[in-house]
Amino acid sequence: MKVLIAGIAGSLARQVALTMRDNGHEVSGLDRRPWRDAPKGITVHAVDIRKRAAEDVFRTLRPDCVVHMATINALSAGGEERARINVGGTRALFEHAKKHGVKHFVFVGRHTYYGAGPDSALYHTEDEPPQGMGVYPELADLIAADLFASNALWREPKLITTILRLVYTLGPSQQGTLASFLRGKRVPMVLGYDPLFQFLEEADAARAVALAVDKQPRGIFNVAGPHPVPLSSIIGYTGRTAVPLPEILLRQMLGRFGFPDLPKGALEHIKYPIVVDGKAFREATGFTHTFDEVEVLRNYRLLTGG
């Protein structure tokens, strides 16, 4: 099967590409960022998904499946640019897919869609609406992209659409939201809070996306792996030092003194958990994770010298 990955230069997307190539698919990708020394058998088109050149790739390649991994979060770009990439890019990919005969579209979204807050339930299921935009407005364009992709389920009945809401990933690339948060030796916590975090090893996350391509489940699916772990345990077990600070002080220190530069609203995500129920995806695809929570954290500690 011909698979086109949008955002192929991203760390997780590269692993997805390799996994799918190894599964026997003909893999190519779009990204305005370079993937130097892209491995044999994987073609990378250096184009922006929102530009005309991207449609040319669809026209000439005529992929069977598109995997959309070209969304970005608030750590990568600010306001308008992020919205253009997330919402505009998603729209462009769906339009090209429809026009050029794509049969299956996989949107790889995030579990942060559900939002974090004091009255947010543990183990979100796919039928829940997004919350938390009031306190974390930077999430709005990612949520809009997810909802736009989700309504393709009725808007484009001939297209098989799979929406994945993936938990955080940790692994050798040391990229991603959780890895960025754990980058320093000292990791801030909000004093008096210790939320659960849910994560998958990168290889497991890549396998999950590849499984979605192979099994073509139609619908929205949370993708989760091991049991969630309290943030303090993640910090301790990866060899970092937790620095619990009163919220009012922490707000002033973000981006300074070696602390990560997070949007203010992201503090909700280190106060309250976002935990999803991955049962529907497991049932639809047979997915099981191979690395448990202890292995993921131990490997990460060894990898990063924590």
């Binding site: 004091p118 009255d119 339930a121 008096g192 049991h227 309290p230």
Partner: protein, 272 residues
């Protein structure tokens, strides 16, 4: 009286799926439970000298819903019922209450309520825990129940109906309980919602001696036989209210029994 087995051993005997970090899938942590019950167990055994009767009515395994009365002040009764499940049951069980949202909004309280399995009272939480064969603890009087004044301590205020619908939907037995002593421990004469608003809680109780520090009075909790209702949870209000009234009436009886037993303990000089 509660068994004298060390708290750590009791926590180790909880039949919950703890992982290598000592944390279960909901974030309940062995380490936090040991500390929490270490403090609570001392109060249960020595300060409030709680006497629990009918503990054999609580199923040792599988889904069940403890439904009881608040006795005033604040949710001291809830904490002591949770303690009774660990200290008196064999095997010990963790009762999981449905707490007010403000508990999860406040630092420290958010952490400890989460790590000890006392989650925000959301229907999603309650349903999931029951389908997961946990022991849920519900006080259908809600915050109006904890806000009872000293003179109202044995009264029951209006019950919500959600717990019966949930029990029917999840086919869960309801174990009624009557708790007495909380109103004497925290003899509330006034609740200030103004001060409560300032610190982010529904109200702050005041006693004749000022702050609402609990007095060392004996407490009594009686558990009744499980009540099982047939249905889907989608019945009309009039049907549900009928079931709620049955549970409420049974709790009123248990309160009455517990009052008598407690009176005997206090007057008779027996083990209190």
């Amino acid at each position: 009286m509660a068994r004298d087995e060390p708290i750590k051993d009791l926590v180790n005997r909880l039949e919950l799926p703890f992982n290598a970090f000592g944390v279960d899938p909901y974030g309940i942590s062995k380490k936090h439970l040991v500390t929490f019950f270490g403090v609570l167990g001392w109060f249960y055994r020595n300060y409030f000298r709680v006497q629990a009767r009918g503990i054999e009515n609580v199923p040792p395994r599988g889904r069940a819903m403890l439904v009881g009365n608040h006795s005033g002040g604040y949710a001291l009764d809830g904490a002591l019922v949770i303690a009774s499940m660990l200290l008196e049951m064999n095997p010990p069980r963790l009762a999981q209450g449905m707490v007010e949202k403000f508990m999860n909004m406040l630092p420290v309280s958010s952490l400890w309520s989460s790590r000890t399995g006392q989650f925000t009272g959301l229907p999603e939480h309650a349903e999931r825990l029951l389908f997961d064969e946990r022991l849920l603890m519900v006080f259908p009087e809600g915050a109006k129940g904890t806000a009872k004044l000293y003179k109202e301590r044995y009264n029951l205020v209006d019950f919500g109906t959600g717990f019966v619908r949930l029990a029917l939907k999840t086919k869960t037995p309801i174990v009624p309980l009557g708790f007495v002593g909380g109103g004497d421990a925290v003899p509330t004469i006034y609740n200030s919602s103004f001060i409560g608003k300032l610190i982010g809680v529904p109200y702050v109780p005041f006693t004749p001696y000022g702050i609402a520090a609990p007095l060392p009075v004996p407490c009594q909790v009686h558990f009744g036989a499980p009540m099982v209702f047939e249905g889907t949870g989608d019945e009309e209000d009039v049907v549900i209210k009928g079931y709620v009234e049955q549970v409420k009436a049974r709790i009123a009886e248990l309160i009455s029994e517990a009052r008598q037993a407690r009176r005997k303990r206090v007057r008779g000089g027996g083990p209190s």
